[in-house]
């Protein structure tokens, strides 16, 4: 097998690494790998010079090639890294071959997931205020399947746990990063992007986020200001 001796092209190395990584891998990780191997072996030292930009260019070239050649799978960005995955249009055959049972979230679990995703870090009590019903059981299950994790503790009395999303959450919903959530519910997200440390800060953003809700006409403004009041009272 003299093929092993042949020096591969940068694109091939990157393709092989993304293929073999078994998890989303970042351009940064790819560069680190190239540099590490280069430092061990002068023969391939040239690859240490590849910049993040170079690497990303090759990833895109690979992406385009696979797309174009209709291989049935491609390179996609998921949970902050690149990985190979099958085309969604071929899903039913893979489901048949692998006999997988997809894991689906129930409606209450999805709603709790949505609240945690957009309002993280958030305590159980705050989630329950929004949902109007207990969520202990749902949170426990979301944690068991690693879609939700404890990200800290609140400064409030009793120091309740604060919950947030995991990287598995991103994978499960096929999101590149938390920024992707913005596309789903942009206004809600802005609240989260602004300082979400102080409880009072949230009220302002409520104002903007509520606007997106249908049915709303001119009454909206006063509605919103009242909303702020209510919110403050509650969280205090």
């Amino acid at each position: 097998m003299h093929d092993a001796m042949r020096l591969p092209a940068l694109r091939e190395i990157i393709g092989a690494l993304i293929f073999g990584a078994n998890r989303p891998i970042t351009a940064r990780e790819l560069r680190q790998c190239l540099q590490e191997v280069a430092s061990e072996d002068s023969e391939v030292a040239v690859f240490a010079e590849a910049s993040i930009k170079d690497i990303e260019r090759e990833i895109r070239a690979l992406h385009d090639e696979l797309q174009l050649r209709e291989t049935g799978f491609g390179i996609y960005e998921v949970s902050g890294g690149w990985r190979l995955q099958s085309n969604v249009s071929c899903g039913r055959w893979l489901k048949n071959l692998l006999k997988v049972k997809p894991q689906r979230l129930s409606q209450p679990a999805l709603e709790t997931m949505a609240i945690i995703a957009y309002r993280q870090p958030i305590s159980k009590a705050e989630i329950e205020t929004i949902r109007g019903v207990g969520v202990s059981h749902v949170i426990k299950q979301l944690m068991e399947v690693q879609l939700v994790k404890i990200v800290g503790r609140s400064e409030l009395p009793g120091r309740p746990f604060l919950y947030g999303t995991t990287s598995r959450f991103l994978e499960h919903f096929g999101l590149k990063s938390l920024q992707d959530l913005e596309q789903i519910g942009p206004r809600v997200f802005t609240r989260k992007m602004q300082a979400d440390t102080g409880e009072t800060d949230q009220t302002e953003d409520d104002a903007s986020s509520d606007n997106q809700d249908d049915v709303v006409e001119e009454t909206d403004k006063s509605v919103v200001s009242d909303n702020e009041k209510g919110q403050v009272d509650e969280s205090a």
């Binding site: 995955q85 969604v88 893979l94 997809p102 129930s106 929004i130 499960h172």
Partner: protein, 265 residues
Amino acid sequence: MAQDEYKVDLEVFEGPLDLLLYLIRKDEVDIYDIPIERITNQYMEYLGVMQMLDLNIAGEFIVMAATLMMIKSRMLLPVEDQNPEEEEDEGDDPRWDLVRQLVEYKKYKDIAGQLQEREYYQEHVFGYGGSNAGAKDVEDPGVALHDVNLFDLISAFQEVLKKAPPEELGEIAEDRFTVADQIDTVLKTVRTDGHIRFSQMFGRMASRNEIICTFLAVLELLRLRQISAVQDDHFGDILIQPGNPDEAMELGEGAGSSEEGAVHA
């Protein structure tokens, strides 16, 4: 009641806000101008049915009932008696706190729907070696109603109940039906006929007891995924068909939905 023999321990994970949003949508009323009397009455009706069925409902339902009653009585007060010094705005409206809560919740409910779409999409995507982010085994699939919302079912059940012959005093036929028996009957029907309309399931039933036992049997079978329920239109008739217990693991509990014809209230 004969349903005690087969206790359906169906925990209701939807809350009172879900029920209110359901009623608001069903009646196509403005969330910012809820006809409080009408909605309160309907809410109490649903609550009554859930209590009659002995479903495991959360205390929040009772609290909400009290809140609705209070709002209703405050709405009856003459306007002059309500903070005459303040200008008229929504802040005076006794409904406002509730509306705010509903609007806020609805926002996340809508997002949840979109997350669910993504989830279904991801089900069809596999990484190398068949790894699929959505295909991990969960030990506890939880209590899960498929396809239609619990409130859809209760709504349909109410319709049936209204048409049922009135209970006769001193009737002793009650013991003739049990949930366990009805489970067998429903399963047999569904498996033989392929599917059956919910509204037709109770067609020839004579007593309320039989209807209630049958309904609880349906709930239990849905929970066990032996059957599934699909609704063609929002608030349309519900179709009961054989389930596929192996089809999907559903995490969490409460009403979920299927890929096709899923309806959320």
